[in-house]
């Protein structure tokens, strides 16, 4: 034989064909297939498939002919039975819509939470970037540990030099984020934009869906500045006009021609970006400084990021001669290159919160499964008689189990679909909430998510479906028949399984409630913590002073003061300052030992360390750090023999416990028995700040003045500084002005990390806030499901006890007695669950401990409050059926069966 017939078609045929002739037909067809192929007939493959399809009808007829007397147990027959069972199961589910809807909603919520979190994990962590051959895309960044800078972007100079000399790279591009004002028709709009050089989009491997991409021509300064717009802007502003290319659009007060529209879904670097402008860089700007351009590269096939990094690192020394940068400066700064897969640029440190969340929603799913299992048990009780009759009539246990498992599978499937819907809504909500998660805009439901949903719902089905099904099918025949026919109140033993399930739900719910309440408090405190400095309207930029151009302390100090003066000339800037480092940059602070005159030191302990920071006089005003006592810096504070320093309150408290810090003398690093280079007199005390970590203790800082008078007296002023400008609103809008002001002093200065203090603060609390939000959501679902579970169980028990209640009332029980009896039953289960939940919550809280801020993981108030909340919900869930029981008409109760 030349080739086998299409395998799938053969497989199908085998299932379709009437078994009596199956083998002959298959063999004949195979022979025919070979013959046709050998004869060179066209499309034999297609012919075989057509044959398969055409076989369906005659086969069914043949089966109908043969059904009664032959081959009762082939594949399709069992399929028939299966479909009959499935139909029956579906019909039974439809007959009890209350049960079905409750179970499906419960599962949908539980599965939805899990699928949603998985969707996030999938989209953020697992999924490759949506560009062709994304594994070849890398980001290029610099590092300069010698200047205290762990990360900075590339500069025009380094980029040009690298691309001219690197061999392992196929193409590379640059991008700079830029806000632009859109004016002209309609309301002026502030748009997020990006300027890119002409190789940027081709490097990603994406071109416009309409029009053309940028060319080398567009990069030149003397050509008009055209624009490529995003799909979204095209839709909003131009109504998706297919002839939009060539239209003019006014950006930054200049009319620009639209040359292209990006495809739908293109979202680099983020979804909000709606215009792409050409990056026009004058020849004079191709220099070493200006580390703010985001560089990406597409590696040649087979090249690893490490190899590329090694190649670029080897090129660093040659940057010196290329741009007149002293080799010593490159060495001092320890300029290096970081090449990372582009995907990693979009990921921050989000693994821990995602893990915690995954665990949390896992618990939610457990609760949901317990809930559905319970519903199943309740329902199964009502079907004891049916089961017993079926068994008595000869149904096998296996067959009966199949029936129940099928119901569970149907519910699981529906729950899974519902879960996908819930997840879709949830993920949309997270996206619309504006949480700045990395790659959040690329998160969507894909095949992998659907697979996860399918597996999760299958596992849940096993959890909630199999146990009740087994239990039911095994049930003792006689007992079931007898039990039901008597219509007595169910025995305690029968309630035990249900009570256990409800108790477990309440325990899990309490655990999640406590966990999320702790996180919520922590997050709230963190968000409302007063760091001791202003967080609004502050723009910062890091500047590096090359040692070649600023060889002496005087030069550096002069620059500190000049740059402040220059920045203060920007119209929007209210005040400006410069300092050796910024708040919330742990690792950058200059920690050192502080010695105080007259303080007795224990020789056996290390001297206490504080941060020594160099600031210009306006630092405290600009950041809004209050002067508590004494005075601020005056121009003579750096003069010889008159050096003054300001200290934070915590230093005053710790080093001068008697309260006489003002006028005290202190120095850095040199023990008291040696002569220090310089004594500093405490001139003033300023407010404490949370400088290193918002969740930490106030930081002890000693501030040195950076003043021109007596600059020679300063022993070491760092040549890396941060310029801080307080603006009158929308700080980031003035980034460009700030950059130009700095460059007006020295066009060669590297500037990195132009950011607002608000962004820095925001970033340091992002993880906690995101985790908190989702935990609260999960706890809310848990609370809801726990309540529903208890309500369902108690309702059922009440309905089963209707007759008993009727008897009790007929015998003189008051309505209140009946209600109380039911309430007691509910609260017993609730209290039991709460007890277990307390222990579980304590265990969970230990895991959360590292994420908590100013909240004890064993905070009794939280535990009691959450237990009370849960108890309240439990009571409410019990109260409704209890009231129903109390309103029962005794006669109706007696008649009930």
């Amino acid at each position: 034989m030349n080739a086998r017939p299409p395998r799938l078609a053969s497989w199908l045929l085998r299932r379709i064909l009437d078994p009596s002739q199956r083998e002959y037909i298959l063999d004949d067809l195979a022979e025919d297939y070979d013959r046709r192929r050998a004869a060179g007939l066209p499309r034999t493959y297609f012919w075989y498939w057509a044959e398969t399809v055409r076989s369906i009808k005659p086969s069914l007829n043949a089966r109908a002919d043969n059904k009664q007397h032959r081959y009762p147990h082939d594949g399709i027959e069992s399929m028939d039975i299966f479909f009959t069972d499935l139909k029956q199961s579906a019909r039974r589910l439809l007959k009890t819509p209350g049960f079905t809807v409750a179970a499906v909603i419960t599962l949908a919520l539980g599965l939805g939470a899990n699928v949603a979190i998985f969707t996030l994990v999938n989209g953020i962590v697992l999924r490759p970037l949506p560009y062709p051959e994304p594994e070849r895309l890398v980001s290029i960044r610099h590092t300069a540990p010698g200047l205290g800078l762990d990360l900075m972007e590339v500069s025009m100079g380094t980029y040009v030099h690298f691309m001219a000399n690197a061999n392992l790279v196929e193409s590379a591009g640059l991008l700079v984020n830029a806000g632009v004002n859109l004016t002209g028709d309609g309301a002026p709009e502030r748009l997020e934009g990006a300027s890119v050089n002409h190789t940027f989009l081709p490097t990603l491997g994406i071109g416009p869906a309409l029009g053309r991409t940028f060319t080398a021509e567009d990069d030149r300064v003397d050509t008009p500045s055209n624009v490529i717009i995003s799909h979204a802007l095209w839709q909003q502003r131009f109504g998706g006009d297919p002839d939009v290319v060539g239209n003019l659009i006014t950006l930054q007060g200049k009319a620009r021609e639209i040359i292209g529209v990006m495809p739908e879904g293109f979202a680099y670097p983020s979804r909000g970006v709606s215009v792409y402008l050409p990056m026009k860089v004058p020849e004079s700007d191709i220099r070493f400084g200006g580390f703010f351009r985001k560089g990406i590269a597409r590696l040649k096939p087979g090249v690893t990021p490490e190899q590329f990094a090694a190649e670029l690192t080897a090129l660093i020394p040659s940057l010196g001669p290329a741009y007149d940068v002293p080799a010593t400066m490159l060495e001092e700064a320890r300029v290096g290159v970081l090449v990372d897969p582009l995907k990693e640029r979009f990921l921050g440190n989000i693994e821990q919160p995602l893990t915690i969340l995954f665990g949390t929603v896992g618990f939610v799913l457990l609760i949901a499964c317990a809930n559905v299992a319970n519903l199943f048990l309740v329902r199964a009780e009502g079907r004891n008689k049916e089961v017993a009759v079926r068994r008595a009539l000869g149904s096998s246990r296996a067959r009966l189990s199949t029936l129940f498992v099928l119901e569970a599978v149907l519910l699981g499937g529906l729950g899974g679909l519902g879960g996908l819907t819930v997840a879709w809504i949830g993920v949309r909500a997270v996206q619309l909430s504006g949480v700045s998660l990395p790659r959040i805009d690329q998160v969507s439901i894909d095949g992998r998510v659907v697979l996860f949903a399918a597996v999760a719902s299958m596992l849940s089905t096993l959890l909630f479906g199999a146990i009740p099904a087994l239990r039911l099918a095994r049930r003792d025949l006689d007992r079931a028949l007898n039990d039901e026919s008597r219509g007595t109140t169910l025995s305690r033993g029968r309630h035990r399984a249900r009570n256990l399930l409800v108790g477990a739900q309440i325990a899990l719910a309490l655990m999640l409630l406590v966990g999320s309440a702790l996180m919520a408090q922590s997050s709230w405190r963190l968000a409302n913590v007063d760091p001791g400095y202003r967080t609004e309207d502050l723009l910062t930029a890091q500047v590096l002073l090359p040692g070649a151009d600023y060889p002496t302390e005087e030069d550096v100090v002069a620059f500190y003061n000049q740059v402040v003066e220059r920045v203060e000339t920007i119209r929007a800037v209210v005040s400006a300052a410069a300092s050796s480092e910024l708040p919330l940059h742990p690792g950058q602070g200059r920690w050192d030992a502080l010695y105080v005159e007259g303080a007795a030191l224990d020789p056996d302990t290390l001297p206490p360390v504080v941060i020594f920071r160099y600031v210009t006089a306006g630092y405290f005003d600009t950041l809004g750090i209050p002067l508590v006592r004494g005075r601020g810096f005056v121009p003579t504070d750096a003069a010889e023999g008159n050096a003054a320093a300001l200290i934070s309150e915590s230093i005053a408290r710790d080093f001068w416990p008697d309260g006489h810090a003002l006028g005290g003398r202190a120095w850095q690093d040199v023990p008291p028995d040696e002569e220090p280079m310089q004594h500093y007199t405490v001139a003033g005390i300023v407010g404490d700040t949370l400088d290193q970590d918002l969740a930490g203790e106030p930081t002890s800082i000693l501030y040195y003045p950076v003043l021109e008078q007596g600059a020679g007296n300063l022993h070491w002023v760092p040549s890396q500084l941060t310029v801080i400008a307080r603006t009158d609103g929308d700080a980031l809008a003035h980034a460009d002005a700030l950059r130009r002001a700095i460059w007006s002093l020295d066009p060669n200065l590297p500037i990195a990390n132009i950011r607002t203090i608000a962004a820095i603060v925001n970033e340091s609390t992002l993880n906690a806030r995101f985790t908190m939000t989702l935990l609260v959501l999960a706890a809310g679902i848990a609370l809801f499901l726990g309540g529903i579970g208890l309500y369902g169980t108690i309702s059922y028990i009440v309905s089963q006890r209707t007759r008993e209640i009727g008897v009790r009332m007929a015998l003189g029980a008051a309505r209140n007695d009946v209600a109380n009896m039911v309430l007691r039953q509910g609260s017993r289960v609730a209290v039991m669950g709460l007890g277990v939940g307390m222990v579980a919550a304590l265990a969970l809280a230990r895991v959360l401990d590292s994420l908590l801020y100013e909240v004890s993981s064993t905070d009794p108030v939280t535990y009691v409050a959450m237990a009370a909340l849960l108890l309240l919900v439990a009571m409410l869930a019990t109260y409704i059926p209890a009231r129903r029981a109390a309103r029962l008409d005794p006669l109706a109760g007696l008649r009930a069966e």
Binding site: I16, D18, D27, D28, D32, P58
Partner: protein, 112 residues
């Protein structure tokens, strides 16, 4: 057991194919004959359904060939007419002839 119901279309085609093919009548050539000579598209499953029905009706009988290497060591199932089959064909043909007797198909122009 013989059948009282008349042969249907496919059955007639299959029986005629069996007569034409003689000793060589098994699935592949039967179907080829019907498709080639009868210009009638028919699936193998339909051929076998007819064969099966007629075998149960006693019109034809089946015989397995020797195991054949080109079929992976499996046999072909050959069919041939039994007298009842011949009679059924005769009946069918007679019925058809009687129905055709004296019928003149209208020409195209008249039909319009």
């Amino acid at each position: 057991m013989t059948r009282s119901t008349a042969l249907n279309d496919v059955e007639q085609f299959v029986l005629l194919a069996l007569l034409r093919l003689g000793e060589d009548a098994y699935g592949v050539p039967i179907r080829a004959e019907i498709e080639g000579r009868g210009r009638r598209a028919v699936s193998m499953a339909a051929v076998y359904a007819a064969l099966d029905r007629m075998q149960r009706g006693g019109l034809i009988e089946a015989q397995l060939s020797e195991p054949l290497p080109e079929r992976g060591g499996r046999a072909r199932k050959h069919f041939r007419l039994r007298p009842a089959g011949t009679r059924a064909l005769e009946d069918a043909r007679g019925a058809m002839d009687r129905m055709w007797d004296g019928v003149d198909l209208p020409t195209d122009a008249e039909a319009r």
